[in-house]
């Protein structure tokens, strides 16, 4: 909403500066987004009085004048000394009031006024012609102003061409402020100053009533006022009207259209003007307006030239129920538009159901000044007054003959709500010591009628004005009172909050632990979209995945499902880095994945939280004191195990992943991760084909775990008992086994730990070695450090030797291993 301050000042007294007004508006809830000033080019140009005018001593056409420019800095400030100004205009004379551009002025055409010397005489400004001020073409001489012009006043202000426009954001609950009438009321309430609202009626109505109106469903159109005006002369609008509309951001079209826009801006009542003769007339010459719902697929070409296909939940203004003439409350039809040939005007001043208008506007993606207002609610008590005002202006500015007959179908009269206001309740909710009197005064200033219903109960009965459909409940009034009292005046307190204690749940804390562990591992947290890209499944090698969650209205067709895996988003993030030559990347994300779940009562999908990470490049970067080392599968295992260890999740098992189910993983270099019988997720090298599909050429190690499953397996707090540390000395023995290549570590390890005897504390693998000549074809050597310890005494080396001997025999027999201990 663009509010012209000069227009506003005609409607309400404003006794504060613009800055103060803006700040009061903001503090009471009207957002002022910008303050625009017209006539800024004429700053420092003021009304001056020519005291003396002498011939220039060194020139035959120049004059030397002394000019009084009044108080510098506006009324009330000290008068400045008269200025000496050299002027070349033939018509300058003592005793004239003239426009004076003082030093510092910057006239149109970037003409800066400076102190200068003209033929030896100092000149401190310029007496201006109309053209120099950009106010016309007259350059025959200086502009001579009326003697009544106030000395020192800014010239733009004096000429009425200066205006300040407040660009305001009006919240959707305040349709009243989408009009100057409502805005002025608001300002009057804020400042406590009087309003000057009066609306003209036609002076010279002519007998006649050529409009008949039928409304099929009154709930869709509670009121419809029609007026007919004949012998209208279409033409340009007068300057005041054009300027007023321009300040409001509305383009002038012709006097008839401009008047309907003007009345809407002033009163908030959208009007529509039809060319009366585009309606068919009955034998009495009457037009028959029928307001009805559109038929399915009915069409109308709107004013913007677009043919619109309609639906039965849209409302039409029709010619006798047949031809659509306008899309009610949204936009007129092209066929019934006012043209230069129009002589009779059918004026509509109506109210339509807000929900219907907003749906039509939304469905047709067509927003107009009218639809904006109808959506939010238009005061139905005012249709006739607005129509009267428009008629008066059509009479005055377009020479129209206004029919005296008013067709007013007012089928759903306005019923004012009455609200009981409890004074103490307002104080209880605001926490501010607002007096009963202030509440009454505030509501009254907003146009409510307030009656002290019961002094015993300390309540008032409040009837809001019809312009405020947002006021229906006590809490709505509380807001009005609070905003006028001043939100910033309320003394801040902290809730007493008895019996509340803040905390994170164990699960939230553990989710944080997971992130902390990965950060300590060296991975950075990524945040990617929950949307999947349609190609993701294919890029991953077309795995079988649970049914996706699909969007009806995706942002782009490429992003129409929700993700089912974290990996694609992380791969894209990784690729983004690699493409920028950042080749060492370690990223993780904790986020949700989505699986359709049509069994759930509301169809709400499953949204498990997953933990994904991707690693590529060097684990240890090249440095002067470090050998560079590429990240590998076992780094990913380490990352996973730091988490499971921190959460005290039962020991993990790794099983090779089936390439058919996990086509995005490199066969033989990927594993499923289990704890107990729960599948937690997968870890492995991303298949080179999948890497290539994501435009990554280097090896990527990735993992994705079900975080919900991790948290479910985490050990309950009360079970985390401490294991006592062992003080007895340990004996360490190294053990090397040569075994067939295909024998996996877990099998060997399990055999060692089960056969090592009760004092075997740990078996740590420290070497894996293959060499056809030294170890043998198809064989590998694994070396372990075995630690033996008894909890209660020092073990003897004989005891340990006996255990090792037993172990060696069992391994040799059970695993067909060659064992060497030392």
């Amino acid at each position: 909403m663009r509010v012209s301050l000069s227009w506003l000042k005609q409607l309400v007294d404003i006794d504060v500066s613009t800055d103060e007004l803006v700040s009061r508006l903001i503090d009471t809830g009207t957002e002022v987004e910008a303050v625009e000033t017209a006539g800024e080019a004429l700053n420092h140009v003021v009304v001056g009085y020519v005291l003396t005018c002498e011939e220039h001593p060194n020139s035959d056409h120049l004059h030397v004048c002394t000019v009084d420019v009044g108080p510098v800095g506006g009324a009330g400030s000290k008068p400045a000394a008269p200025l000496t100004i050299v002027c070349g205009a033939p018509n300058v004379a003592a005793g004239q009031k003239v426009p004076v551009a003082c030093v510092g002025a910057q006239l149109p055409g970037d003409f800066k006024i400076k102190k200068s010397k003209l033929r030896g005489v100092e000149s401190n400004g310029m007496i201006c012609s109309a053209r120099e001020l950009g106010l016309g073409q007259d350059h025959d001489g200086i502009m001579v102003l009326d003697q009544a012009a106030p000395l020192g006043q800014n010239i733009a202000e004096y000429l009425g061409i200066s205006d300040t426009v407040l660009v305001c954001e009006i919240t959707p609950n305040r349709p009243d402020c989408l009009s100057m009438r409502g805005f002025a009321k608001e300002v009057s309430a804020i400042l406590g100053t009087p309003l000057h609202l009066a609306f003209q009626s036609p002076r010279n109505p002519h007998p006649g009533q050529s409009a008949q109106v039928d409304v099929e469903d009154p709930t869709t159109c509670p009121r419809y006022v029609a007026r007919v005006i004949h012998n209208v002369q279409i033409g340009p609008s007068p300057a005041w009207l054009t300027q007023t509309l321009e300040a409001a951001g509305v383009r002038s079209i012709n006097n008839v259209v401009d008047i309907s826009n003007y009345v809407m801006l002033l009163t908030g009542q959208p009007l529509h003007t039809f060319d009366f003769d585009t309606y068919s007339h009955d034998e009495e010459g009457k037009a028959h307006v029928v307001v009805r719902r559109a038929h399915a697929s009915e069409k109308i070409q709107t004013l913007d030239g677009i043919e619109r296909t309609l639906a039965p939940d849209m409302l039409l203004i029709t010619d006798g129920g047949k031809k659509p003439m306008a899309l009610a409350g949204v936009m007129g039809g092209l066929d019934s538009e006012i043209s230069d040939a129009t002589t009779s005007v059918l004026l509509e001043s109506a109210v339509f159901a807000p929900g219907m208008i907003s749906k039509t506007s939304r469905d047709l993606q067509l927003v107009s000044e009218a639809s904006l207002r109808y959506e939010r609610g238009v005061d139905r008590t005012f249709c006739d007054t607005a129509a009267d005002l428009a008629c008066a202006l059509l009479e005055e500015l377009a020479g129209g003959e206004v029919e005296s007959g008013v067709t007013d179908v007012y089928s759903e009269p306005y019923e004012a709500p009455t609200i009981t206001l409890r004074y103490q309740r307002v104080r209880d909710i605001t926490g501010a010591p607002i007096t009963d009197d202030f509440m009454m005064a505030a509501l009254t200033s907003l146009g409510c009628t307030c009656e002290n219903a019961s002094s015993k109960d300390a309540t008032a009965t409040v009837t809001p004005p019809p312009t405020r459909p947002d006021l229906t409940r006590e809490c709505d009034l509380t807001e009005e009172i609070l905003r006028l009292w001043g939100m910033n005046q309320v003394t801040a307190t902290i809730p007493k909050g008895t019996n509340v204690a803040g905390k994170r749940t164990l699960e939230q804390l553990r989710a944080q632990t997971i992130a902390q562990k990965l950060i300590a591992f060296g991975a950075s947290e990524a945040q990617t979209y929950c949307f999947a890209e349609n190609t993701d499944k294919e890029l991953l090698g077309n795995p079988d995945l649970p049914a996706p969650v699909e969007l009806i209205n995706p942002l782009t067709q490429d992003m129409r499902t929700m993700r089912r895996l974290m990996l694609p988003g992380l791969m894209r993030a990784l690729q983004y880095n690699v493409a920028r030559n950042i080749t060492d990347v370690a990223l993780f994300e904790q986020g949700r994945v989505f699986y359709a779940n049509q069994e759930s009562p509301e169809n709400q999908p499953k949204e498990p939280c997953h933990l994904g990470f991707v690693l590529t490049g060097n684990r240890t970067p090249r440095a002067w004191n470090e050998h560079e080392r590429a990240v590998d599968f076992y780094d990913a295992k380490a990352a996973i195990e730091t988490i499971t260890e921190a959460l005290k999740i039962p020991k993990l098992r790794y099983k090779e992943a089936d390439p058919a189910t996990y086509p995005w993983l490199q066969p033989g270099k990927a594993a499923l991760v289990y704890s107990k019988k729960t599948l937690l997720g997968w870890v492995g090298a991303v298949h080179p084909n999948a890497c290539a599909a994501f435009a990554v050429t280097q090896e990527v190690i990735a993992a994705e775990l079900d975080q919900d499953a991790l948290l479910a397996l985490a050990e309950p707090l009360q079970k985390s008992a401490i294991k006592p540390t062992q003080d007895q000395p340990a004996i360490k023995i190294d053990l090397a086994l040569v075994v067939p290549d295909e024998l996996d570590y877990t099998t060997i390890y399990q055999r060692i730990t089960s056969a090592g005897g009760k004092y075997l504390e740990s078996a740590v693998l420290f070497d894996v070695y293959t060499d056809a000549t030294r170890v043998g074809e198809g064989k590998k050597s694994l070396a372990f450090t075995l630690t033996f310890r008894a909890p209660d005494r020092s073990l003897t080396s004989e005891e340990v030797a006996a255990s090792v001997e037993k172990l060696t025999q069992k391994l040799e027999r059970g695993l067909n291993a060659q064992v060497r201990a030392g």
Binding site: I26, T28, G29, E31, T171, P172, N173, G355, R362, D428, T430, G431, A432, T478, L482, M487, N488, A492, T493, I494, P495, G497, N499, G502, R504, T505, Q512, A515, I519, G522, S524, E525, Q527, Y529, V549, E550, L551, I552, N553, P554, L555, A573, Y576, N577, A586, L587, R592, F594, Q598, E602, N603, Q604, P605, E607, R619, P621, A623, W624, N625, E626
Partner: protein, 349 residues
């Protein structure tokens, strides 16, 4: 030369030799030469029987004194040598302390996570718990229960992502991606009796094409209090505390009345601009104030929808975008950086 002179001579020679000894080996050699089994001083002790009985006590005394003196000189010299050796070892161990540190891979929490956790911690301190809910929500929880009118523009497909269901014809649906974390507030109110002090941070979705100031997925942090006797003053106290803790003690706050369907009265909170201190600058577009969040007293109808009696309880709610806080705190100009996951960006936080 008499025995006495001899002892004196041995002592003098011994002390001189000790001083000369420049290594532990040389020192040991000197010790053996004078004090060892075959050392010159030991020899004198051994030949004591040759000394006359009347001289014996005196000679014995002298030998003992010489021995003591030599032993303490030996210890002193040993200490000097050890100190020198240590010094040498230390000198050899000199490194260039300005060489770069060993590379140590340090990960970083995402800046949005950090902001969310910082704000969570603040409100945990005020007695709040942290709650979240489904991202795919029903229209009831996301809009209807929160007082959003049936024809409100925020429900339109231009402002809300709708999700296909098995029941609908896939043109209209009552399932959507939540546009705010407020449905979590409603779920909390329906599940739990007051007092309620909760913070609901989480991802929300709106069909905005990504640009410098919009993302189709962003992070909201909402708070809700429902308790007996909660006032607008309590809302102010809480948010003043928040604003100063997050943006700086010196920042001022301003509450501007506004409109939200969920709250009544509603307002927006501004903090004074950090760049200019409130006098107006380019950063705050000359206003001196920066908008931070929306808030208000929970609308009575919302409490009723949650099964809470508004005559018994009242509450306040507030909501902000974590991305906006990131912009204000770190001068982030383009929020798309938050989802690009450039390691160079992530590692700055």
């Amino acid at each position: 030369m008499g025995v006495q002179e001899n002892i004196e001579q041995i002592k003098t020679d011994g002390l001189a030799a000790l001083k000369q000894a420049a290594s532990p080996e040389a020192l040991e050699e000197v010790r053996l030469g004078f004090l060892g089994k075959k050392g010159t001083l030991t020899k004198i002790l051994r030949s004591m029987k040759e000394v006359s009985p009347e001289e014996r006590p005196l000679i014995g005394k002298l030998v003992n004194a010489a021995q003591k003196e030599l032993e303490s000189a030996l210890a002193a010299q040993k200490e000097i040598l050890e100190a020198a050796a240590l010094e040498e070892r230390i000198a050899e161990g000199t490194i260039d302390v300005t060489l770069p540190a060993r590379p140590y891979a340090q990960g970083h929490a995402h800046v949005i996570t950090q902001i969310v956790q910082e704000i969570e911690n603040l409100f945990i301190g005020l007695g709040y718990t942290i709650v979240d809910g489904p991202y795919v929500e029903t229209e009831y929880f996301n809009f209807t229960s929160l007082n959003t009118p049936a024809d409100h523009p925020s429900r339109s497909p231009r402002d809300t992502f709708y999700v296909k269901t098995s029941r609908e014809n896939n043109q209209v649906s009552d399932l959507l991606l939540r546009t705010q974390t407020s449905p979590v507030q409603m779920r909390t109110m329906q599940a739990q009796k007051p007092p309620i002090y909760v913070l609901c941070p989480g991802k929300v979705f709106r069909p905005d094409t990504a640009d410098a100031s919009h993302l189709p997925q962003f992070t909201q942090i909402e708070g809700l209090v429902v308790d007996k006797g909660i006032t607008f003053a309590d809302l102010k106290g809480t948010l003043d505390y928040f604003a100063k803790a997050i943006f700086g003690e010196e920042r001022k706050t301003r509450y501007r009345p506004h409109f939200f369907p969920f709250t009544e009265p509603s307002c927006e909170l501004d903090v004074s601009c950090a760049a200019c201190g409130g006098s107006g600058c380019k950063f705050c577009k000359g206003e001196g104030w920066i908008e931070v969040l929306g808030c208000g007293i929970v609308d009575e109808q919302v409490l009723i929808n949650a099964g809470i009696d508004p005559e018994e309880y009242s509450g306040f709610a507030f909501g902000m975008g974590a991305e906006r806080v990131a912009c204000l705190r770190y001068g982030l100009g383009d929020i798309r950086e938050l989802v690009q996951n450039d390691m160079r960006f992530l590692s700055q936080f």
